[in-house]
Amino acid sequence: MYYYILNPAAGRGKVSQIEQRLRDRLKELGISGEFAKTTGPADATKMAYAAVAKGANTIVAVGGDGTVNEVINGIKKDNVAVGIVPVGKQNSLAKKLGVYNWQQAAELLASRRLSSFNLMAAGSHYFLSDLSVGYNAHLDKQVDSGSTGLKNRLREISQTFTHTKNFETFKCKLTIDDDLKLEAEMFSLEVTNQKFQDPATANKLVLTFSERPTGKQLGSQVFKKVWSKSSYDQFHSRLLANRVLIETSPEQSVMIDSKLSGRTPVVVRLTEKKIRFVCGRDLPAPTKKPPAIVDA
């Protein structure tokens, strides 16, 4: 049974614009199911938990990164599949799974191409993709991204430049697998799952961090951030681990799967909890304007 969790607040209300067309398309594809709408924070977690308890074997998050994150935190069983219909502002999780728009998402749900990933956890909070400390997390807090319109875009560029120029490095201590202690001055730190980056590899935490980049590197990064919405991705150190304690001085914001989620210190670990995701990876990305879907 498919259970669709719609977040009406995602993507500045985009859900309501596509809801009927989405329902119709899912019906055509023979994967119509139960629909429910969130009304506030953490609703999707409770709804996903209840749906699995009722016997749903596929939970679909219709929303943005935050909705997906809430859904995976509500799933306690291994044999449940999670799908994403991306209608958020950035949809970075969906993009990383090869899901680009609601029309393609519906097709993928019907074809049911699944990839399994171990979740990571920061404390008791499970997540799929990445945890950031430093520049990327701070940037997200300072800059109102995802805006449209020339005026808003110019404001975003200006905010990004100002933030980048003023951002200070921080002292960081990492305790890796309780065995190795690391100290460095950092600009940005990311934790992700190696298998999420490359499905051919084993599940393992990948820690990447960088020192303060040169002016040229920063300029290039600001350009990438503004135009392609990509995070700061230069690194000068990289390690694999199963568990890491991150301590910083001064305290830093922590961003999990594109959502600000507390501050350092934080313990990140690779968990045994596996979730199967409906993926479009390895398939050609759809053209920017998907073909119109004609109602039957």
Binding site: D179, L180, K181, L182, A184, H236, S237, R238, L239, L240
Partner: protein, 127 residues
């Protein structure tokens, strides 16, 4: 003095300059280190000790390449090489050894046979 950069591509573990480590650094793959480490390094792949690196401890890997400072013993399955900028204070157990002009090495060497590689029987494609 300008820092020399390590080549990072294809390497599983990379430790840049300015990073300080204490403990044992283990990896199933290649390791490149250009920071400081007090402890030990164990790799099933290649180990590169960069020009800015300072290591206090024993290291073991398939191949070991030293361009920085190492105070500890080296155990390598195949080859050990010390560049002109490299300094090694410790013993070296290896099958092949190369030391460039300008390198400093203070210790003993124990040379061993190269591990024998299993050869596949030739297959005649013409059949």
């Amino acid at each position: 003095m300008a820092r020399k950069e390590l080549s990072l591509s294809g390497t599983e573990t990379v430790i840049g300059s300015g990073v300080k480590l204490k403990g044992t650094l283990n990896s199933d793959g290649d390791i490149s280190i250009d920071g400081e480490l007090k402890g030990a390094i164990r790799s099933n792949g290649n180990l590169t000790i960069g020009p800015n690196a300072s290591i206090e401890g024993n290291v073991s890997a398939l191949n070991v390449h030293v361009a920085g400072l190492l105070e500890g013993n080296i155990k390598s399955e195949n080859e050990t090489s010390i560049e002109g900028s490299g300094k090694v204070k410790g013993d070296i157990h290896t099958a092949l050894l190369s030391i460039q002009h300008g390198a400093i090495f203070s210790g003993q060497t124990v040379m061993r046979d190269l591990p024998t590689s299993k050869t596949e029987p030739e297959v005649d494609d013409e059949q």
